[in-house]
């Protein structure tokens, strides 16, 4: 399995990560090695095997719909990098 720098750039875009040229080279090389290693899963015939997404067999978990006090705006905004009033500020989205 060979991962190219172009593959790395594509995945970085999806993951919202910016990488410098050295990191791109390094990740291309390391991801190739790791994905090469995971190729061994192909040795196994998994036809008809149900995938496991959760180790404990559980059905949907329901609870009563009761009114509760939420955390509150002050607390919820206490870690905001930038805020105005009861809003989070972000750079302009629409021109």
């Amino acid at each position: 399995m060979s991962v190219t720098v172009a593959d790395v750039e594509h995945v970085a875009r999806l993951a919202r990560l910016g990488l410098n040229p050295d990191q791109k080279e390094l990740f291309a090389c390391q991801m190739s090695a790791i994905l090469g290693y995971v190729e061994k899963l192909k040795e196994l015939d998994t036809e008809g095997i149900t995938p496991t997404s959760h180790a404990v067999p559980m059905e949907n978990v329901f609870r009563e719909d009761v009114e509760k006090m939420p955390m509150g705006v002050v607390k919820a905004l206490s870690n905001a990098p930038q805020r105005s009033g009861s809003f989070f500020n972000v750079p302009k989205v629409i021109e």
């Binding site: 790395v8 993951a15 910016g18 390391q30 995971v38 149900t50 870690n79 990098p81």
Partner: protein, 485 residues
């Protein structure tokens, strides 16, 4: 005996009979932290104010006769647990200034019993690592040999116990992150069954694998801590609503007739001779105690690391999408657009190992590769789980090594992620199967490094592995050894 050398149950007896106060105990541990911390680096944040306030409250509670086994006991928790009003970094620059507005259920349960918080412990960034070297807050060193790693990702949680900086600690285990550092630092570390302990307020890495557990000086302490932590939490819908047994009363010392499985795939040719020696000695001890050994097979063991690094990284890439610089965490200063802000904030805030795993996980989930990698890994996970179900038809517990070697040198594997990942080969299958396992001190290498052995239990079989661990501990002295600092 120094206060800082004591177990929870020893310290409890002194607090109960008023031979010492909780404030004295807290001050003793804080002084110890100050002395040895420059050598070890177990902590990201020390919290002397909370410790003293908590100890005063504990003393009032003891005076009022309203005492629990954990009242006045000085503990420290991995910096992955949210602690209301106390900075929580998860070992990452991206959360350098994050002050949680609420606490993790597991920590709150200990607090309700009167436990005292000494501080927040060093760890690999977002719990991604096997050596604690991916922490953004400096190296954590192994107290038995400070040129070596303490293990990871809960490296600080294990080192703090070995260096006598906390009476017990909390860690998390996604692929071995409690058991491997416990083994490398000579302490007891338990990963409970998935769903046994609430994960609410624990910063997520790989949600189908993450589990909270204690690291302690002995098995009695481990049983005390698990009893306090276990139970259903309405705030974590993956926590399981089954009764919590009295784990301490499970420690009878009698294991005659217990059936212990030895999975043949765990005794590979590459096993370090010192680890093999510790395993052989542990088997002999158990035979003397009346255990019956049975050879079992976990045929898909060799596929576990590959399966884990696809599932864990895929879940991580999704979980870590929340760090976007909008609501909390680091935000890049100069970003012109919203997209730039996301990219720059994440690129500045995350370290290399975290970026590497986000990249791998994003790749495994991306269009065209989802079935070949992610779904394939989930199917192999089913095969690995079935191996465990089958083996447990014949045995009560399994006994295996924790790690293929004792603690390695700092920097030894940092440039070869695949080699680093392979060091978790004996712990990862347990997380994939969702069951419970414990690391127990079981010897030392020729160089004087601690070696642990792993007891693997059936799902919700914590009582059985604690009973087996306690019997072993009663027959050996390994857990009593302490690192000279």
């Amino acid at each position: 005996m120094n206060i800082y050398d004591m177990t929870i149950h020893q310290l409890h007896d002194l607090l109960k009979t008023k031979q010492i106060s909780a404030v004295e105990a807290a001050k003793d541990l804080l002084a110890r932290i100050e002395t040895v911390e420059p050598l070890i680096g177990s902590f990201i944040t020390v919290t002397p104010e909370q410790a003293l306030a908590g100890a005063e409250a504990a003393d009032r509670r003891i005076a009022a006769g309203n005492m629990d086994l954990l009242t006045g006991i000085p503990l420290a928790v991995k910096d992955i647990f949210l602690t209301e009003g106390i900075r929580t970094t998860c070992g990452s620059r991206i959360l350098e200034n994050f002050i949680p507005p609420y606490s993790a259920t597991s920590w709150e349960k200990l607090l309700d019993r009167g436990a005292v918080l000494l501080g927040k412990l060093n760890q690999d960034e977002f719990a991604m690592g096997s050596s604690n070297e991916s922490s953004a807050y400096g190296t954590c060193r192994n107290p038995w040999d400070t040129t070596r790693i303490p293990g990871g990702s809960s490296g600080g949680s294990a080192a703090a116990i070995a260096a006598r900086q906390a009476t017990a600690t909390l860690g998390t285990d996604t692929g071995g992150s409690i058991r491997q550092p416990a083994s490398h630092c000579g302490c007891v570390g338990l990963k409970p069954t998935y769903g046994r302990v609430s994960r609410y307020g624990v910063i997520a890495y790989a949600s189908s694998l993450d589990q909270v557990g204690p690291l302690t000086r002995d098995v009695i302490d481990c049983a005390i801590m698990l009893g306090a932590l276990a139970g259903h939490d309405p705030k974590d819908s993956t926590s399981v609503d089954t009764p919590v047994p009295d784990y301490v009363s499970a420690l009878t010392g009698d294991i005659k007739g217990i059936k212990i499985g030895l999975p043949k795939e765990y005794f590979i040719s590459g096993l370090d001779p010192d680890v093999q020696k510790a395993m052989d000695a542990a088997i002999e001890t158990y035979q003397r105690l009346g255990a019956e050994f049975i050879d079992v097979s976990l045929p898909h063991t060799d596929y576990a690391v590959a399966t884990y690094y696809l599932i864990a990284t895929a879940e991580a890439s999704s979980n870590l999408a929340r760090y976007d610089g909008v609501r909390f965490g680091h935000r890049a200063k100069e970003a012109a657009s919203l997209l730039d802000m996301y990219v720059q904030s994440r690129s500045e805030g995350f370290g290399t190992e975290v970026k590497r795993r986000i990249m791998l996980g994003t790749y495994a989930l991306s269009s065209g590769y989802y079935d070949a990698y992610y779904v394939k890994a989930q199917k192999v996970r089913t095969l690995i789980m079935n191996d465990f179900i089958k083996a447990f038809n014949d045995v009560d517990v399994m006994l295996t090594p924790v790690a293929p070697t004792p603690a390695f040198k700092i920097s030894e594997k940092i440039n070869d992620p695949l080699q680093m990942y392979l060091s978790d080969i004996f712990t990862i299958p347990v997380n994939l199967a969702g069951t419970c396992a414990m690391s127990l001190p079981a010897g030392f290498s020729a160089d004087g490094l601690p070696i642990g052995v792993q007891l693997i239990g059936k799902p919700f079989g914590e009582e059985t592995i604690l009973r087996a661990g306690y019997a072993f501990e009663q027959a050996t002295d390994w857990h009593k050894a302490s690192a000279s600092l």
